[in-house]
Protein backbone atom coordinates (compact mmCIF):
# COMPACT_ATOMS: atom_id res chain seq x y z
CA UNK A 1 0.00 0.00 0.00
CA UNK A 2 1.43 3.32 -0.93
CA UNK A 3 1.38 6.41 1.23
CA UNK A 4 -1.48 8.02 -0.61
CA UNK A 5 -3.82 5.09 -0.27
CA UNK A 6 -3.02 4.83 3.40
CA UNK A 7 -3.71 8.51 3.90
CA UNK A 8 -6.93 8.34 1.96
CA UNK A 9 -8.16 5.32 3.83
CA UNK A 10 -7.26 7.00 7.11
CA UNK A 11 -9.17 10.03 5.98
CA UNK A 12 -12.09 7.93 4.87
CA UNK A 13 -12.03 6.09 8.18
CA UNK A 14 -12.09 9.31 10.13
CA UNK A 15 -14.88 10.52 7.91
CA UNK A 16 -17.01 7.45 8.42
CA UNK A 17 -16.46 6.69 12.08
CA UNK A 18 -18.10 9.86 13.22
CA UNK A 19 -21.40 10.27 11.39
CA UNK A 20 -22.29 6.56 11.33
CA UNK A 21 -22.78 6.46 15.08
CA UNK A 22 -25.40 9.16 14.89
CA UNK A 23 -27.12 7.64 11.90
CA UNK A 24 -29.38 5.01 13.36
CA UNK A 25 -31.92 7.15 15.21
CA UNK A 26 -32.48 10.06 12.92
CA UNK A 27 -31.62 8.76 9.49
CA UNK A 28 -31.79 10.56 7.16
CA UNK A 29 -30.77 13.98 8.40
CA UNK A 30 -29.21 15.21 5.18
CA UNK A 31 -29.78 14.66 1.43
CA UNK A 32 -29.08 11.19 0.05
CA UNK A 33 -26.97 10.70 -3.10
CA UNK A 34 -28.19 8.22 -5.67
CA UNK A 35 -25.57 7.01 -8.14
CA UNK A 36 -26.74 6.22 -11.66
CA UNK A 37 -24.16 4.32 -13.69
CA UNK A 38 -25.39 5.77 -16.98
CA UNK A 39 -25.21 9.29 -18.38
CA UNK A 40 -27.70 12.10 -17.82
CA UNK A 41 -30.59 11.80 -20.26
CA UNK A 42 -30.65 8.01 -20.59
CA UNK A 43 -33.79 6.08 -19.67
CA UNK A 44 -32.30 4.97 -16.34
CA UNK A 45 -31.26 8.49 -15.41
CA UNK A 46 -34.59 9.96 -16.38
CA UNK A 47 -36.61 7.36 -14.47
CA UNK A 48 -34.36 7.70 -11.43
CA UNK A 49 -35.04 11.43 -11.39
CA UNK A 50 -38.78 10.81 -11.62
CA UNK A 51 -39.01 8.18 -8.87
CA UNK A 52 -36.89 10.18 -6.43
CA UNK A 53 -38.67 13.50 -6.92
CA UNK A 54 -41.04 13.12 -3.94
CA UNK A 55 -38.34 11.85 -1.58
CA UNK A 56 -38.13 15.18 0.21
CA UNK A 57 -41.74 15.02 1.40
CA UNK A 58 -42.44 14.20 5.04
CA UNK A 59 -44.38 11.01 4.19
CA UNK A 60 -41.28 9.54 2.62
CA UNK A 61 -37.65 10.20 3.55
CA UNK A 62 -38.03 13.85 4.43
CA UNK A 63 -34.74 14.50 2.65
CA UNK A 64 -34.20 14.97 -1.04
CA UNK A 65 -32.37 12.43 -3.16
CA UNK A 66 -29.69 13.82 -5.45
CA UNK A 67 -28.76 12.00 -8.67
CA UNK A 68 -25.04 11.58 -9.42
CA UNK A 69 -24.07 10.15 -12.81
CA UNK A 70 -21.01 7.94 -13.15
CA UNK A 71 -21.29 6.58 -16.67
CA UNK A 72 -18.88 4.25 -18.46
CA UNK A 73 -18.51 0.80 -19.95
CA UNK A 74 -22.15 -0.25 -19.76
CA UNK A 75 -22.38 0.52 -16.03
CA UNK A 76 -19.21 -1.24 -14.84
CA UNK A 77 -17.47 2.01 -13.91
CA UNK A 78 -20.29 3.19 -11.67
CA UNK A 79 -20.93 -0.12 -9.90
CA UNK A 80 -17.22 -0.75 -9.42
CA UNK A 81 -16.99 2.65 -7.76
CA UNK A 82 -20.06 1.92 -5.68
CA UNK A 83 -18.73 -1.34 -4.27
CA UNK A 84 -15.21 -0.03 -3.66
CA UNK A 85 -15.64 3.56 -2.54
CA UNK A 86 -19.21 4.40 -1.60
CA UNK A 87 -19.58 4.97 2.15
CA UNK A 88 -21.95 2.35 3.60
CA UNK A 89 -23.87 4.81 5.76
CA UNK A 90 -27.11 4.99 3.86
CA UNK A 91 -26.32 8.39 2.37
CA UNK A 92 -25.00 6.92 -0.85
CA UNK A 93 -27.34 4.61 -2.74
CA UNK A 94 -27.22 3.38 -6.30
CA UNK A 95 -29.61 2.38 -9.04
CA UNK A 96 -29.26 -1.21 -10.21
CA UNK A 97 -30.05 -2.33 -13.72
CA UNK A 98 -30.93 -5.98 -13.96
CA UNK A 99 -29.71 -8.09 -15.64
CA UNK A 100 -26.81 -5.81 -16.58
CA UNK A 101 -24.83 -5.84 -13.37
CA UNK A 102 -25.37 -9.55 -12.75
CA UNK A 103 -24.38 -10.45 -16.31
CA UNK A 104 -21.21 -8.41 -15.89
CA UNK A 105 -20.49 -10.16 -12.60
CA UNK A 106 -20.98 -13.58 -14.21
CA UNK A 107 -18.87 -12.57 -17.18
CA UNK A 108 -16.07 -11.45 -14.85
CA UNK A 109 -13.59 -8.60 -14.85
CA UNK A 110 -15.55 -6.50 -12.36
CA UNK A 111 -15.21 -6.04 -8.62
CA UNK A 112 -18.81 -6.73 -7.65
CA UNK A 113 -21.16 -9.69 -7.48
CA UNK A 114 -24.64 -10.42 -6.22
CA UNK A 115 -23.50 -10.30 -2.58
CA UNK A 116 -21.84 -6.90 -2.85
CA UNK A 117 -25.13 -5.04 -2.67
CA UNK A 118 -28.22 -4.83 -0.46
CA UNK A 119 -31.40 -4.52 -2.55
CA UNK A 120 -33.92 -1.95 -1.35
CA UNK A 121 -36.78 -1.84 -3.83
CA UNK A 122 -37.60 -2.15 -7.51
CA UNK A 123 -39.59 0.47 -9.38
CA UNK A 124 -39.94 -0.64 -12.96
CA UNK A 125 -39.49 -3.22 -15.67
CA UNK A 126 -38.57 -2.53 -19.24
CA UNK A 127 -38.50 -5.56 -21.55
CA UNK A 128 -36.26 -5.79 -24.59
CA UNK A 129 -38.00 -5.70 -27.97
CA UNK A 130 -36.87 -6.60 -31.47
CA UNK A 131 -37.22 -3.64 -33.82
CA UNK A 132 -36.60 -2.85 -37.48
CA UNK A 133 -36.73 0.37 -39.48
CA UNK A 134 -40.03 1.41 -41.05
CA UNK A 135 -38.85 0.46 -44.56
CA UNK A 136 -37.43 -2.89 -43.52
CA UNK A 137 -38.51 -6.00 -45.51
CA UNK A 138 -39.15 -7.80 -42.22
CA UNK A 139 -42.71 -7.54 -40.97
CA UNK A 140 -42.80 -10.46 -38.55
CA UNK A 141 -40.31 -12.17 -36.31
CA UNK A 142 -40.59 -15.30 -38.47
CA UNK A 143 -39.29 -13.40 -41.52
CA UNK A 144 -36.46 -12.12 -39.37
CA UNK A 145 -35.51 -15.63 -38.22
CA UNK A 146 -35.78 -17.08 -41.72
CA UNK A 147 -33.42 -14.43 -43.08
CA UNK A 148 -30.97 -15.03 -40.23
CA UNK A 149 -31.01 -18.77 -40.93
CA UNK A 150 -30.31 -18.25 -44.62
CA UNK A 151 -27.59 -15.64 -43.99
CA UNK A 152 -25.70 -16.64 -40.86
CA UNK A 153 -23.73 -13.77 -39.35
CA UNK A 154 -25.04 -11.26 -41.89
CA UNK A 155 -28.03 -9.83 -40.03
CA UNK A 156 -26.74 -6.78 -38.15
CA UNK A 157 -28.53 -6.02 -34.89
CA UNK A 158 -27.79 -2.96 -32.74
CA UNK A 159 -28.04 -2.82 -28.95
CA UNK A 160 -26.91 -0.65 -26.06
CA UNK A 161 -23.65 -2.48 -25.27
CA UNK A 162 -22.07 -5.73 -24.23
CA UNK A 163 -23.69 -7.71 -21.39
CA UNK A 164 -26.68 -5.45 -20.96
CA UNK A 165 -30.29 -6.61 -21.29
CA UNK A 166 -30.29 -6.15 -25.06
CA UNK A 167 -27.25 -8.33 -25.48
CA UNK A 168 -28.68 -11.03 -23.20
CA UNK A 169 -31.91 -11.07 -25.22
CA UNK A 170 -29.90 -11.46 -28.41
CA UNK A 171 -27.85 -14.32 -26.98
CA UNK A 172 -31.02 -16.06 -25.83
CA UNK A 173 -32.58 -15.64 -29.27
CA UNK A 174 -29.49 -17.05 -30.95
CA UNK A 175 -29.61 -20.11 -28.70
CA UNK A 176 -33.37 -20.63 -28.88
CA UNK A 177 -33.78 -20.19 -32.63
CA UNK A 178 -30.37 -21.59 -33.55
CA UNK A 179 -29.35 -18.55 -35.54
CA UNK A 180 -26.19 -16.47 -35.80
CA UNK A 181 -26.63 -12.69 -35.68
CA UNK A 182 -24.06 -9.89 -35.95
CA UNK A 183 -24.43 -7.89 -32.73
CA UNK A 184 -23.32 -4.26 -33.06
CA UNK A 185 -23.00 -2.70 -29.59
CA UNK A 186 -23.30 1.08 -29.58
CA UNK A 187 -21.36 3.51 -27.49
CA UNK A 188 -24.05 6.04 -26.71
CA UNK A 189 -26.46 3.62 -25.02
CA UNK A 190 -29.96 2.76 -26.17
CA UNK A 191 -30.65 5.98 -28.05
CA UNK A 192 -27.59 5.58 -30.28
CA UNK A 193 -28.65 2.00 -30.97
CA UNK A 194 -32.11 3.28 -31.90
CA UNK A 195 -30.63 5.89 -34.22
CA UNK A 196 -28.71 3.17 -36.02
CA UNK A 197 -31.99 1.33 -36.72
CA UNK A 198 -33.92 4.41 -37.87
CA UNK A 199 -31.07 5.59 -40.06
CA UNK A 200 -30.68 2.14 -41.59
CA UNK A 201 -27.06 1.66 -40.51
CA UNK A 202 -28.05 -1.75 -39.15
CA UNK A 203 -30.80 -4.11 -40.34
CA UNK A 204 -32.48 -4.53 -36.96
CA UNK A 205 -32.08 -3.70 -33.31
CA UNK A 206 -32.89 -4.76 -29.80
CA UNK A 207 -34.03 -1.88 -27.65
CA UNK A 208 -36.07 -0.89 -24.62
CA UNK A 209 -39.81 -1.25 -24.90
CA UNK A 210 -40.23 2.29 -23.56
CA UNK A 211 -38.08 3.84 -26.28
CA UNK A 212 -39.45 1.58 -28.99
CA UNK A 213 -43.01 2.56 -28.01
CA UNK A 214 -42.27 6.17 -28.94
CA UNK A 215 -40.60 5.20 -32.20
CA UNK A 216 -43.51 2.93 -33.06
CA UNK A 217 -46.09 5.66 -32.38
CA UNK A 218 -44.16 8.12 -34.51
CA UNK A 219 -44.03 5.52 -37.29
CA UNK A 220 -40.24 5.40 -37.53
CA UNK A 221 -39.84 1.75 -36.60
CA UNK A 222 -41.72 -1.56 -36.54
CA UNK A 223 -41.67 -3.70 -33.40
CA UNK A 224 -41.49 -7.43 -34.19
CA UNK A 225 -41.50 -9.10 -30.78
CA UNK A 226 -41.15 -8.65 -27.04
CA UNK A 227 -38.68 -10.66 -24.96
CA UNK A 228 -40.93 -11.19 -21.94
CA UNK A 229 -43.33 -13.79 -20.60
CA UNK A 230 -46.40 -11.76 -21.50
CA UNK A 231 -47.34 -9.13 -24.03
CA UNK A 232 -47.24 -5.53 -22.88
CA UNK A 233 -50.98 -5.01 -22.61
CA UNK A 234 -50.59 -1.37 -21.83
CA UNK A 235 -48.17 -0.14 -24.47
CA UNK A 236 -48.12 -2.60 -27.38
CA UNK A 237 -50.86 -5.24 -27.03
CA UNK A 238 -50.54 -6.29 -30.68
CA UNK A 239 -46.88 -7.21 -30.51
CA UNK A 240 -46.33 -10.94 -29.77
CA UNK A 241 -43.81 -12.30 -27.31
CA UNK A 242 -40.94 -14.37 -28.69
CA UNK A 243 -42.33 -17.41 -26.86
CA UNK A 244 -45.70 -17.15 -28.62
CA UNK A 245 -43.83 -17.48 -31.88
CA UNK A 246 -41.95 -20.54 -30.82
CA UNK A 247 -38.68 -18.88 -29.85
CA UNK A 248 -38.06 -19.99 -26.29
CA UNK A 249 -36.86 -16.75 -24.68
CA UNK A 250 -37.99 -15.96 -21.14
CA UNK A 251 -37.88 -12.70 -19.14
CA UNK A 252 -34.21 -12.88 -18.10
CA UNK A 253 -33.35 -9.91 -20.29
CA UNK A 254 -36.09 -7.64 -18.91
CA UNK A 255 -34.43 -4.52 -17.59
CA UNK A 256 -35.45 -4.16 -13.94
CA UNK A 257 -34.50 -0.90 -12.25
CA UNK A 258 -34.44 -0.15 -8.57
CA UNK A 259 -32.39 1.12 -5.66
CA UNK A 260 -29.69 -0.69 -3.71
CA UNK A 261 -27.23 0.09 -0.91
CA UNK A 262 -23.66 -1.08 -0.46
CA UNK A 263 -22.99 -4.15 1.69
CA UNK A 264 -22.31 -3.10 5.28
CA UNK A 265 -24.98 -0.45 5.49
CA UNK A 266 -26.44 -0.50 9.04
CA UNK A 267 -29.53 -2.76 9.24
CA UNK A 268 -31.58 0.00 10.91
CA UNK A 269 -30.93 2.24 7.93
CA UNK A 270 -31.86 -0.49 5.47
CA UNK A 271 -35.05 -1.06 7.44
CA UNK A 272 -36.02 2.58 7.09
CA UNK A 273 -35.27 2.51 3.37
CA UNK A 274 -37.02 -0.81 2.76
CA UNK A 275 -40.15 0.63 4.31
CA UNK A 276 -40.20 4.14 2.83
CA UNK A 277 -38.77 3.62 -0.64
CA UNK A 278 -41.43 1.20 -2.01
CA UNK A 279 -44.10 3.57 -0.67
CA UNK A 280 -42.39 6.36 -2.57
CA UNK A 281 -42.36 4.29 -5.78
CA UNK A 282 -46.08 3.60 -5.29
CA UNK A 283 -46.93 7.29 -5.08
CA UNK A 284 -49.56 7.97 -7.79
CA UNK A 285 -47.73 11.03 -9.13
CA UNK A 286 -44.60 8.96 -9.70
CA UNK A 287 -46.50 6.17 -11.43
CA UNK A 288 -48.32 8.64 -13.64
CA UNK A 289 -45.15 10.30 -14.86
CA UNK A 290 -43.35 7.03 -15.43
CA UNK A 291 -46.26 5.80 -17.49
CA UNK A 292 -46.24 9.01 -19.50
CA UNK A 293 -42.70 8.13 -20.51
CA UNK A 294 -43.73 4.68 -21.71
CA UNK A 295 -42.22 2.89 -18.73
CA UNK A 296 -44.04 0.07 -16.98
CA UNK A 297 -44.25 0.44 -13.21
CA UNK A 298 -43.46 -2.72 -11.25
CA UNK A 299 -42.82 -2.06 -7.57
CA UNK A 300 -41.18 -4.86 -5.59
CA UNK A 301 -40.07 -4.89 -1.96
CA UNK A 302 -36.66 -5.84 -0.66
CA UNK A 303 -37.30 -9.59 -0.27
CA UNK A 304 -38.93 -9.89 -3.65
CA UNK A 305 -35.97 -8.18 -5.31
CA UNK A 306 -33.56 -10.49 -3.51
CA UNK A 307 -35.47 -13.50 -4.90
CA UNK A 308 -35.45 -12.05 -8.40
CA UNK A 309 -31.69 -11.44 -8.25
CA UNK A 310 -31.01 -15.01 -7.14
CA UNK A 311 -33.27 -16.55 -9.77
CA UNK A 312 -31.83 -14.38 -12.49
CA UNK A 313 -28.24 -15.15 -11.67
CA UNK A 314 -28.73 -18.86 -12.26
CA UNK A 315 -30.46 -18.18 -15.56
CA UNK A 316 -27.66 -15.84 -16.68
CA UNK A 317 -25.00 -18.42 -15.92
CA UNK A 318 -26.80 -20.78 -18.27
CA UNK A 319 -27.09 -18.20 -21.06
CA UNK A 320 -23.52 -17.01 -20.82
CA UNK A 321 -22.03 -20.48 -20.40
CA UNK A 322 -21.59 -21.18 -24.08
CA UNK A 323 -19.48 -18.07 -24.70
Amino acid sequence: MNARTTLLSLAAGAMLAWPVAAVAQDYPDRPVSVMVSYGAGGATDFQARVVTMVSGEEDYLGQSMVIVNKPGAGGRVGWNWFVRQAPADGYTLAVYNMPHFLAQAVEGGVQFDIDSFEPIANWGADPAVVIVGKDSPFNTIEEFVTYAKENPGKLTVSGAGLFVGHHIALLQMEQAADIDLAYIPSQGGGSAAMTAVIAGNVMAGINNLSDAYRGMKAGDIKVLAVADLERSAEFMPDVPTLMERGIDVDDTSVNFRGLMAPKGTPPEVIEVLAEKVPAMFNEPRVAEQLKAGGAEVRVMGRDEVREMWDASRGELEKVLEGL
Binding site: L8, A14, P19
Partner: protein, 157 residues
Protein backbone atom coordinates in the same frame (compact mmCIF):
# COMPACT_ATOMS: atom_id res chain seq x y z
CA UNK B 1 11.10 44.18 -17.07
CA UNK B 2 9.67 41.20 -18.85
CA UNK B 3 11.76 39.54 -21.45
CA UNK B 4 10.97 36.51 -23.48
CA UNK B 5 13.44 33.71 -23.46
CA UNK B 6 13.57 30.54 -25.41
CA UNK B 7 14.51 27.43 -23.58
CA UNK B 8 17.90 25.98 -24.44
CA UNK B 9 18.58 22.71 -26.12
CA UNK B 10 19.18 20.75 -22.90
CA UNK B 11 15.88 21.91 -21.44
CA UNK B 12 13.98 20.90 -24.56
CA UNK B 13 15.45 17.45 -24.34
CA UNK B 14 13.73 16.79 -21.00
CA UNK B 15 10.08 16.93 -22.14
CA UNK B 16 11.05 15.42 -25.51
CA UNK B 17 12.54 12.38 -23.75
CA UNK B 18 9.59 12.17 -21.37
CA UNK B 19 7.11 12.09 -24.24
CA UNK B 20 9.28 9.62 -26.15
CA UNK B 21 9.40 7.32 -23.13
CA UNK B 22 5.64 7.62 -22.69
CA UNK B 23 4.99 6.91 -26.36
CA UNK B 24 7.29 3.88 -26.24
CA UNK B 25 5.56 2.60 -23.11
CA UNK B 26 2.09 3.08 -24.60
CA UNK B 27 3.16 1.33 -27.79
CA UNK B 28 4.60 -1.58 -25.84
CA UNK B 29 1.44 -1.98 -23.77
CA UNK B 30 -0.84 -1.66 -26.78
CA UNK B 31 0.88 -4.53 -28.55
CA UNK B 32 1.20 -6.83 -25.55
CA UNK B 33 -2.07 -6.44 -23.61
CA UNK B 34 -5.09 -8.68 -24.02
CA UNK B 35 -7.76 -8.83 -25.42
CA UNK B 36 -6.10 -7.84 -28.65
CA UNK B 37 -9.26 -6.56 -30.37
CA UNK B 38 -9.79 -3.96 -27.64
CA UNK B 39 -6.28 -2.65 -28.30
CA UNK B 40 -6.67 -2.28 -32.05
CA UNK B 41 -7.35 1.42 -31.94
CA UNK B 42 -4.77 2.12 -29.22
CA UNK B 43 -2.17 0.51 -31.51
CA UNK B 44 -2.91 2.90 -34.32
CA UNK B 45 -2.68 5.90 -32.01
CA UNK B 46 0.39 4.57 -30.21
CA UNK B 47 2.33 4.13 -33.45
CA UNK B 48 1.39 7.63 -34.60
CA UNK B 49 2.44 8.98 -31.22
CA UNK B 50 5.74 7.11 -31.33
CA UNK B 51 6.62 8.41 -34.79
CA UNK B 52 5.80 11.97 -33.74
CA UNK B 53 7.70 11.59 -30.47
CA UNK B 54 10.82 10.42 -32.34
CA UNK B 55 10.51 13.32 -34.73
CA UNK B 56 10.07 15.72 -31.83
CA UNK B 57 13.03 14.22 -29.99
CA UNK B 58 15.21 14.56 -33.06
CA UNK B 59 14.27 18.20 -33.42
CA UNK B 60 15.08 18.84 -29.77
CA UNK B 61 18.39 17.00 -30.04
CA UNK B 62 19.37 18.93 -33.14
CA UNK B 63 18.51 22.20 -31.43
CA UNK B 64 15.63 22.89 -33.81
CA UNK B 65 13.00 23.11 -31.07
CA UNK B 66 12.64 26.79 -30.37
CA UNK B 67 9.05 27.22 -29.32
CA UNK B 68 8.39 27.77 -25.65
CA UNK B 69 10.07 29.78 -22.98
CA UNK B 70 11.30 26.91 -20.84
CA UNK B 71 11.47 26.92 -17.09
CA UNK B 72 13.87 29.01 -15.08
CA UNK B 73 14.79 28.50 -11.46
CA UNK B 74 13.28 31.55 -9.80
CA UNK B 75 9.68 31.19 -11.02
CA UNK B 76 9.92 27.47 -10.37
CA UNK B 77 10.85 28.08 -6.73
CA UNK B 78 8.02 30.61 -6.49
CA UNK B 79 5.53 27.96 -7.53
CA UNK B 80 6.51 25.39 -4.91
CA UNK B 81 4.82 26.77 -1.75
CA UNK B 82 1.52 27.39 -3.55
CA UNK B 83 1.62 24.00 -5.19
CA UNK B 84 2.36 22.42 -1.83
CA UNK B 85 -0.81 23.95 -0.42
CA UNK B 86 -2.86 22.64 -3.35
CA UNK B 87 -1.36 19.16 -3.03
CA UNK B 88 -1.95 19.07 0.73
CA UNK B 89 -5.52 20.18 0.14
CA UNK B 90 -6.28 17.53 -2.46
CA UNK B 91 -4.42 14.59 -0.95
CA UNK B 92 -5.50 15.02 2.64
CA UNK B 93 -7.13 18.26 3.70
CA UNK B 94 -10.43 18.05 1.84
CA UNK B 95 -11.44 14.62 3.09
CA UNK B 96 -9.85 14.95 6.53
CA UNK B 97 -11.19 18.35 7.53
CA UNK B 98 -14.21 18.56 5.29
CA UNK B 99 -14.46 20.36 1.99
CA UNK B 100 -15.46 23.78 3.19
CA UNK B 101 -13.15 24.10 6.19
CA UNK B 102 -10.15 22.85 4.23
CA UNK B 103 -10.92 25.08 1.26
CA UNK B 104 -11.16 28.09 3.54
CA UNK B 105 -7.74 27.32 5.01
CA UNK B 106 -6.30 26.60 1.57
CA UNK B 107 -7.62 29.87 0.17
CA UNK B 108 -6.24 31.77 3.14
CA UNK B 109 -2.86 30.02 2.86
CA UNK B 110 -2.44 30.77 -0.83
CA UNK B 111 -3.55 34.37 -0.34
CA UNK B 112 -1.15 34.80 2.58
CA UNK B 113 1.81 33.21 0.80
CA UNK B 114 1.53 35.43 -2.27
CA UNK B 115 0.24 38.61 -0.65
CA UNK B 116 2.98 41.26 -0.63
CA UNK B 117 1.46 42.90 2.47
CA UNK B 118 3.84 42.00 5.35
CA UNK B 119 2.66 39.29 7.74
CA UNK B 120 3.16 41.61 10.72
CA UNK B 121 0.57 44.00 9.35
CA UNK B 122 -2.65 43.35 11.32
CA UNK B 123 -4.97 44.93 8.79
CA UNK B 124 -3.55 42.63 6.15
CA UNK B 125 -4.61 39.58 8.13
CA UNK B 126 -8.07 41.01 8.67
CA UNK B 127 -8.54 41.56 4.97
CA UNK B 128 -7.20 38.14 4.03
CA UNK B 129 -9.51 36.36 6.45
CA UNK B 130 -12.51 38.44 5.42
CA UNK B 131 -11.93 37.82 1.69
CA UNK B 132 -11.42 34.07 2.24
CA UNK B 133 -14.57 33.79 4.34
CA UNK B 134 -16.64 35.78 1.88
CA UNK B 135 -15.44 33.67 -1.03
CA UNK B 136 -16.21 30.43 0.76
CA UNK B 137 -19.70 31.66 1.56
CA UNK B 138 -20.36 32.20 -2.14
CA UNK B 139 -18.98 28.73 -2.91
CA UNK B 140 -21.15 27.22 -0.18
CA UNK B 141 -24.28 28.94 -1.45
CA UNK B 142 -23.56 27.83 -5.00
CA UNK B 143 -22.50 24.22 -4.51
CA UNK B 144 -24.10 23.10 -1.27
CA UNK B 145 -27.35 25.04 -1.41
CA UNK B 146 -28.13 25.58 -5.09
CA UNK B 147 -26.58 22.47 -6.61
CA UNK B 148 -26.91 20.22 -3.54
CA UNK B 149 -23.49 18.68 -4.06
CA UNK B 150 -22.70 16.21 -1.28
CA UNK B 151 -19.16 16.81 -0.08
CA UNK B 152 -17.20 14.66 2.39
CA UNK B 153 -17.99 15.96 5.88
CA UNK B 154 -14.64 15.38 7.54
CA UNK B 155 -13.82 16.41 11.08
CA UNK B 156 -15.06 19.97 10.82
CA UNK B 157 -17.36 20.83 7.95
Amino acid sequence: MTTTTTANRMQHLVPASAVLALAAGVTFLSFTQEPAEAFLFPRVIAVAMLVLAVWNFARAALGLARVGSGVSLRPFLNILPGLAVVVALIFAGLTLLGFYAASFLGFLAIYTIYDPVPLTHGGGWLRRIAVSAAFMMVIYALFARLLQVQTPQGLLF
